[in-house]
Amino acid sequence: MPAEPIRLAALLALVAALGGCDKPRFSDAPRVKQTFGVVTTKDPPPPPPAWVAPMLGKGMRDVFPLVADCVGSADAVDMRYEGATPGSRVMGWAWDRERKAPPPRIVLTDKRFRIVGAGETGLSRPDVAAARPEVTTPNAGWQAVTARIEGQIYAFGAEESGRACKLGRIGL
């Protein structure tokens, strides 16, 4: 078989593959170069932060009535606890535009906006700072844990003063 058509076909296949990797033309959102994998464990989830215990089950805005101006997202479920005490760990990033810092706390709610979990910020996410110039720290990442193992979860950045902002939604 002549080599020329094979080379041509290989070149076309490469071009098609690269074309498929392109971002949609209608999206101008900055690309965050981060891959996420899910780890499962039989271990129990870590205990929630002490500050969230009295809030569990309450309406999000009943506890945090003030609206903050943030950007961020709930990126992935990165850990599933599949032992006797099940649960999920969600990760993402957050940035408070007013305070110009990551919100100190993360609150997770269910679909009805009842508080079901919590976590902390300060984790390393250099990809976020690289993609969004307004984020001036490489530590805008967060992790939060909930006892839920299915359904939709909303993530909020929050602070003690009662300010909070919605970061995103993710399915467990």
Binding site: F26, G59, R61, D62, P65, T109, F113, I115, Q152, K166
Partner: protein
């Protein structure tokens, strides 16, 4: 037997007053645009303008407004170029059409003066023309379509007829609901393109151009220019549905608001009643002491589901709420007319400012302060237009097809808004208000014209 073919006899035997219409439109454009140059802008207008630099990013608002701004930018006229163009088109079209129904030139001139005077007498009309709201070019292209149609009928001109339908397509591409203005016009255009005996090719031209125009209008909201990239469609109805949920909840005593609307805050019935304002969703959800923070959201589909439930379970309350919005919309509220104008330019990236802020403020204040007078509200246009049209039809029976289809537009446009209006802003009914103003003046001109013998149906 009804003889639609005689409708053409309502048209003046004189040539269309092209030069007079141009001079009149230029004077009206100068009077309206000079004080508010380059035109007030709200969020919608600013976004449409910014997209001339960034490319169309959203189909939440039909992108035709952006394309008109782009033409203005390319012409080096900035935002003011579009303000002048849309104002000129509006008054040019009105003058041309009035000149075509007036039997004498001086009667046409009186009609043009009366049409302009209605903008001062009903300040909700004037106030809207000061702002870069796409309701104005919608009305301009709608009226231009009407004027070109009448000119086409008088001259039996196929090019003018096609241009009329293209203009109607442009109006619909600016506002989807503009098709209601032509709900009865289009059937008459297809049936009797020249308002009298019409060749089949004229009918075919109307149908083909209309189908092509509507397809392009639809396509313009799917793919953007110039790269034809697809832009995701946005559900525009969620805002209306959310306002409806507040209204039905306030009326029925049942809380239909999905948890996402208050993000889990406990909401009492008293709080919903306090928050609910039928004039606008943003007034309803604005931050107020003692109320939870309400968010403008579709609740990931929950608002739509709750809306269906609310309308089905509490239909009388849904109607009561829509009535409340309609009352505000038409200027029937005892508090006056809502959002007559927007007396400012919201921040733009290129820091557009008013050329004459003092005059602009005076113009805006006139519109806002005088619009609430009981004799100056938009509803009067909707009452006077059918009354005068009826008298004109009695005097000149040949006028009934034309006046009836125009009245159909006057009624169908606000009727559609009755169920679909996301807010009670005066600008939403601007196109139909302008049409009513035109019908009023055209009817008056027919009444003022000396009665003449109607030509035979087949008279060219």
């Amino acid at each position: 037997m009804i003889r639609v073919s005689s409708g053409r006899s309502v048209l003046s035997p004189d040539r269309p007053p092209w030069l007079l219409a141009t001079a009149y439109a230029a004077a009206a454009t100068l009077a309206i645009c000079w004080p508010v140059w380059p035109g007030f802008m709200t969020y919608d207008g600013v976004l449409a303008w910014e997209q001339t630099k960034t490319g169309v990013q959203t189909m939440t608002w039909p992108p035709m407004h952006t394309y008109l701004f782009a033409l203005s930018r390319q012409a080096g006229a900035g935002t003011g170029g579009l303000l002048a163009a849309q104002t000129f088109l509006l008054f040019f079209a009105a003058a041309l059409a009035l000149g075509l129904v007036a039997s004498r030139r001086w009667i046409a001139i009186a009609g043009m003066a009366a049409f302009a005077a209605l903008f001062v007498a009903v300040p909700a009309l004037l106030g809207v023309t000061f702002v870069h709201w796409r309701d104005v070019p919608t009305a301009s292209f709608a009226l231009l379509g009407l004027a070109l149609w009448l000119a086409a009928a008088r001259a039996r001109s196929l090019p003018l007829l096609v241009a009329a339908v293209v203009s109607i397509g442009l109006a619909i591409s600016l506002r989807y609901n503009a098709f209601a203005l032509f709900a009865l016009v289009v059937p008459l255009m297809v049936w009797s393109p020249y308002l009298g005996p019409s060749p089949a090719r004229a009918r075919i031209a109307v149908v083909v151009t209309l189908v092509a125009g509507l397809a392009l209008a639809w396509g313009s909201t799917r793919w953007r220019l110039p790269d034809l990239a697809p832009v995701p469609k946005v559900d525009n109805f969620a805002g209306t549905q959310l306002l409806d949920l507040f209204g039905v909840s306030a009326c029925s005593g049942r809380n239909y608001l999905p948890p996402a609307v208050a993000e889990g805050a406990t909401v009492t019935q008293a709080q919903i009643r306090r928050a609910y304002d039928p004039r606008h969703l943003h007034l309803t959800i604005k931050a107020q002491p003692g109320l939870p923070h309400f968010f403008e959201t579709d609740g990931d589909g929950e608002v739509k589901a709750a809306w269906r439930d609310a309308v089905a379970r509490d239909f009388p309350c849904y109607l009561a709420h829509r009535n409340a919005v309609f009352v505000e919309q038409m200027g029937l509220s005892r508090y006056g007319v809502f959002m007559t104008t927007h007396p400012a330019i919201d921040p733009t990236s290129d820091r557009i400012v008013l050329a004459r802020p003092g005059y602009a403020t005076q113009a805006a204040l006139y519109a806002m302060r005088s619009a609430d007078g009981y004799g100056r509200r938009p509803i009067l246009l909707y009452l006077a237009a059918p009354l005068l049209a009826l008298l004109a039809m009695i005097r000149r029976p040949a006028a009934w097809p034309l006046l009836t289809v125009l009245l159909g537009g006057c009624a169908a446009y606000p009727a559609l808004l009755y169920v679909a209006a996301p807010a009670a802003d005066a600008r939403y009914i601007f196109p139909s208000s302008v049409l009513c103003a035109f019908v009023m003046v055209a009817s008056a001109l027919i009444l003022a014209s000396p009665k003449r013998q109607e030509p035979a149906p087949d008279a060219g």
